[in-house]
Amino acid sequence: MLKTVVDVKGLQKLEQAIQEKLALAVENTAEQMVSEAKARVRVRTGALRDSYEAVQLGPMHWEVHDGVPYGVHVNYGTRHMAADGHFSQAFENAKPVLEHRVARAMIEAGEEVER
């Protein structure tokens, strides 16, 4: 009789490791978006630049926002003012970085559980 036994161990540890590393990946990406938005924004008084922050809403849920009412107009422009796109570009640049960090988090979690 041929018989195959598959015994999977450590799934809970793997799940925990993945969650921890993914949470860090999301947090780091949110912080990176803040830094990049601050670095790219057109500055007159510095109020918009200084108002950017990343706020944690959940374990893997972060929000990056400004704290002044005119930030959207600086990013997208107005009828008589050109757009600087600082936030759009920060978001654009964060997307592939997050993908890379998520992939890396999965690999590192697997390696950690294997050890």
Binding site: V72, H73, Y76, G77, T78, R79, H80, M81, A82, A83, G85, S88, Q89, E92, N93
Partner: protein, 150 residues
């Protein structure tokens, strides 16, 4: 080469060449009998009439091969929106619809670059309050890639 101005100009000229859009955007210049096409790059004139359209660049990212001096292509996103001074978007809808029809798939060779067809990444809507007046905007974020023309 800097692709941003080339692509913005390409989109602008593509829109400018469309007779239907010209019909929607051509108005007499204030105080004169001269007609003007209310299509702008980056920002509108302060005395512009409505509706008007503004073509802007929002993002740009290079895709490089190894070594990184070998650029494969550049991805660009334009924000193309119609602005109106009416208290609703009724007059803007046909303009925004036409922008979408003209831009989607528009591409070609210009200044040694090949502009691959535009596609819309997301529709946009917003309002701009200026004193007691609210201006509405309607349009979309349009993405394209450009590479060196063969």
């Amino acid at each position: 080469m800097n692709e941003i101005e080339v692509v913005k100009e390409f989109a602008y000229e593509t829109l400018r060449a469309d007779a239907t859009l010209a019909g929607l955007l051509t108005r007499p210049r204030p105080g004169t009998e001269t007609d003007v096409l209310n299509l702008y790059r980056d920002r509108a004139l302060t005395n512009a009439t409505y509706p008007l359209v503004i073509v802007r660049q929002l993002t740009a990212s290079d895709v490089n091969a190894l070594p990184v001096t070998a650029r494969i292509q550049t991805e660009l996103m334009l924000l193309v929106e119609a602005y109106g001074d009416q208290p609703n978007t009724l007059l803007l809808r046909p303009v925004a619809d036409r922008l979408d029809s003209v831009l989607i798939g528009a591409g070609g060779d210009v200044d040694g670059l090949h502009v691959h067809g535009f596609y819309r990444e997301r529709p946009t809507f917003g309002e701009e309050v200026d004193g007691a007046k609210t201006y509405y905007r309607l349009g979309g974020e349009y993405r394209t890639t450009v590479s060196r023309a063969e």
